[in-house]
């Protein structure tokens, strides 16, 4: 592992602490087992879940591999609907554009619905710094914002918290009485946020899908906060990664149920919405302006890697996080990235910096549970291997690691050398010469007693 980077050292330290935190483990296991049961039930609603995955993968492949065409078509249709499109090469470009829009329209208050893309570009900090009050309205995100923490999970932001933790946060930040009732907590948030919706000048949402042939963005949610965010304020801004495109509005008859099923186990979430512009003549209400920001921020780098291009098929359902034995043990915060779990480990080295983030690809048992869970069939665990290979090719590993692997390769290439190496290793372990080398392993476990002879020798005597 490229353990020399600060990010890798931090990962190891956080992972060791979280893996030994039994309270954390209990909370996560309870949440994920509830999720697992719901998803298993949800999949039975399909005639054949595997066929649904194959269709979803095929449509995403078609879109991503002709992305220029679909982006241009999408833009044309948004403009025809009376909306605006802004192309942002970097997070900074996207932030500056939102700030410019807010200033131009005298925006003082922004309501936001859950969007990982806005987390990726750290939009809230930029708005708050500019003196614009910004309120997260998804219940989980509202709790995160109050606590000053990022989302723990791309779909379930406060998966790691108990009712008691959340009641304590409300008590400290809002002065509401302590309660262990989830409904009471939800109603407190509803009442408070209602005022914010009424007063907000701008609503900011993400986009689960961007539909090329109608110029619409699709939003998936359960609470109604996204609908309020694009219904009440004067301006609606939707921020979408360029990979969010799908060709036709009819494709949602597949993608909405697939995303809901993999995300929460629901057949459809409570609200699946399509927004195709500002208020039109004859409509009762709606924003005066509709803006879509198409964000690159490293996505074209991933697109250029044909081997891993399918990682751009991701619909951010969170299934690979929930399936991952590493995620369940080290938790979401250990990754220190916007996108956690297997998909985060695959894409972060491309979106950010390969040197600083390749260590994440080693945080995997390569069991393949992520690949099996992925509803759009991204070859996740092979991409973790590709990232490891790429990081060695680019010499992000340590010289000592290269030396050890070269020695290992040399020994493995000849039966005689292999036998001698084995004999030496058994001897060395018994004399304790390997203790310092094995320390990372023996810190948490015991080293097994080496056998007296190799299997090959034993077979020679008994076979």
């Amino acid at each position: 592992m490229s353990a020399t980077t600060a990010t890798a050292t931090q990962f190891k330290r956080a992972a060791a602490a979280k893996a030994a935190d039994l309270h954390h483990r209990g909370v996560i296991q309870k949440a994920i087992s509830t999720y697992d049961a719901a998803v298993a039930r949800g999949k039975t609603r399909f005639a054949d879940w595997e066929n649904a995955r194959a269709h979803a993968a095929a449509i995403k492949w078609e879109t991503i591999n002709h992305l220029d065409r679909y982006l241009e078509q999408f833009e044309r249709n948004v403009l025809a609907n009376g909306g605006h499109v802004f192309w942002a090469e970097t997070a900074e470009d996207a932030r500056q554009h939102v700030l410019a829009l807010a200033r131009r329209h005298g925006v003082q208050k922004v309501v936001k619905s859950k969007s990982m893309t806005t987390e990726e570009i750290h939009l809230n900090d930029a708005l708050e710094t500019a003196g614009i009050k910004t309120i997260e309205t998804d219940l989980g995100e509202y709790i995160c914002q109050m606590r000053g923490e990022p989302p723990y999970h791309i779909v379930t932001p406060v998966m790691h918290l108990t009712k008691a933790d959340i009641a304590q946060t409300f008590y400290e930040k809002l002065g509401t009485p302590l309660t262990d009732n989830a409904e009471e907590l939800t109603m407190i948030a509803r009442a408070r946020l209602r005022h914010e919706f009424m007063a907000a000048d701008m609503g900011i949402t993400g986009a689960n899908f961007a539909i090329a042939d109608t110029g619409m963005v699709a939003l998936t949610e359960n609470e109604g906060n996204a609908r309020l965010s694009f219904s009440l304020p004067r301006i609606h801004v939707a921020i979408a990664g360029i990979e969010k495109l799908i060709p036709r509005v009819e494709d949602l008859a597949l993608f909405w149920p697939v995303l809901s099923t993999s995300g929460t186990g629901q057949a459809l979430t409570a609200y699946s919405s399509l927004i195709g512009g500002p208020r039109q003549p004859g409509e009762a209400d709606g924003p005066q302006e509709f803006h879509v920001i198409l964000l690159d921020n490293g996505r074209t780098r991933l697109l250029a890697d044909a081997e891993q291009r399918d990682a751009l098929h991701c619909i951010r359902c969170g299934a690979c996080l929930n399936a991952c034995p590493i995620y369940k043990n080290v938790g979401g915060y250990t990754y220190a990235t916007t996108y956690q779990g297997p998909i985060g480990s695959v894409i972060t080295p491309h979106l950010r910096d390969a040197h600083d983030w390749s260590h994440l690809s080693y945080a995997s048992s390569l069991c393949g549970a992520c690949t099996e869970a992925c509803p759009v069939r991204i070859d996740l665990h092979h991409h973790l291997l590709h990232n490891r290979r790429n990081s060695v090719r680019r010499r992000f590993d340590q010289p000592i690691q290269r030396l050890v692997f070269q020695a290992w390769l040399w020994a493995m290439q000849s039966p005689t050398r292999f036998a001698v190496a084995g004999k030496f290793a058994r001897f060395a372990i018994r004399l304790g010469w390997a203790n310092s080398l094995a320390k990372p392993w023996t810190d948490g476990r015991e080293l097994p007693e080496p056998p007296d002879q190799s299997f090959h020798e034993w077979w020679g005597e008994h076979g």
Binding site: N65, W87, E183, T186, G224, L228, V249, S273, L274
Partner: protein
């Protein structure tokens, strides 16, 4: 002119010059089991989602009694069924709207700015009553999308929502709570 557009499109085009491995094509078998009895299926699914179903005029009158501030859209069907509203969307205890269609497969209600009096009326009030007719039930989501395409192609409403049960959240310990931000009660009146 912002050069970002050309830069991004040029990078996309350059990236795509190298071909990616194409997955094997999916089978043509149906993705969802066929819906055989749409009305029965709609009732089952809608009630399982904690929706409230009303299917005669008398029950509708009883349901409406406790509501004093009602906001309605201005469609003919709603006016005929519940009469004119007496409150604004922001200040009502019940929002009454029409819909584009109902989906049997998922127990959903499809609303748009055209069919449901704009954007807020079907999400802001604490309760939402949908006035629908039995012949508005379509079999599945694909049929609903086909119907919307046929109805709106070229001139789509600026916003549409597929409503599947009352507003909900499970953000706190995966415990299901209704009425997170949208209506706590979702009621469908199914008339002829």
């Amino acid at each position: 002119m912002n050069p970002a557009r050309e830069n991004i499109l040029n990078r996309v085009e350059a990236a795509l010059r190298i071909q990616a491995h194409r997955p094997s094509p999916p089978s043509t078998a149906p993705i969802f089991p066929a819906v055989t009895n749409p009305e029965t299926r709609f009732r089952e699914e809608f009630i399982a989602l904690k929706g409230e179903l009303i299917d005669n005029a008398e029950t509708l009158r009883e349901f409406l009694k406790p509501f004093t501030r009602i906001a309605t859209d201005d469609t003919e069907l709603v006016r005929r069924t519940t009469g004119e509203g007496n409150a604004s969307t922001r200040d009502c205890d019940l929002g009454v709207t029409g819909c584009d269609c109902l989906i049997a497969q998922t127990g959903s209600v499809v609303v748009s700015t055209h069919s449901a009096g704009g954007r807020a009326l079907s999400v802001l009030p604490p309760a939402h009553l949908v006035i629908a007719r039995r012949n508005q039930i379509v079999t599945d989501l694909a049929a609903a999308m086909a119907l919307l395409r046929q109805r709106y192609d070229g001139r789509w409403p600026s916003a549409l929502s597929i409503i599947t049960g009352p507003s909900r959240t499970a953000d706190i310990e995966k415990i299901l709570v209704f009425g997170a931000h949208g209506p706590k009660r979702l009621v469908v009146y199914l008339g002829d």
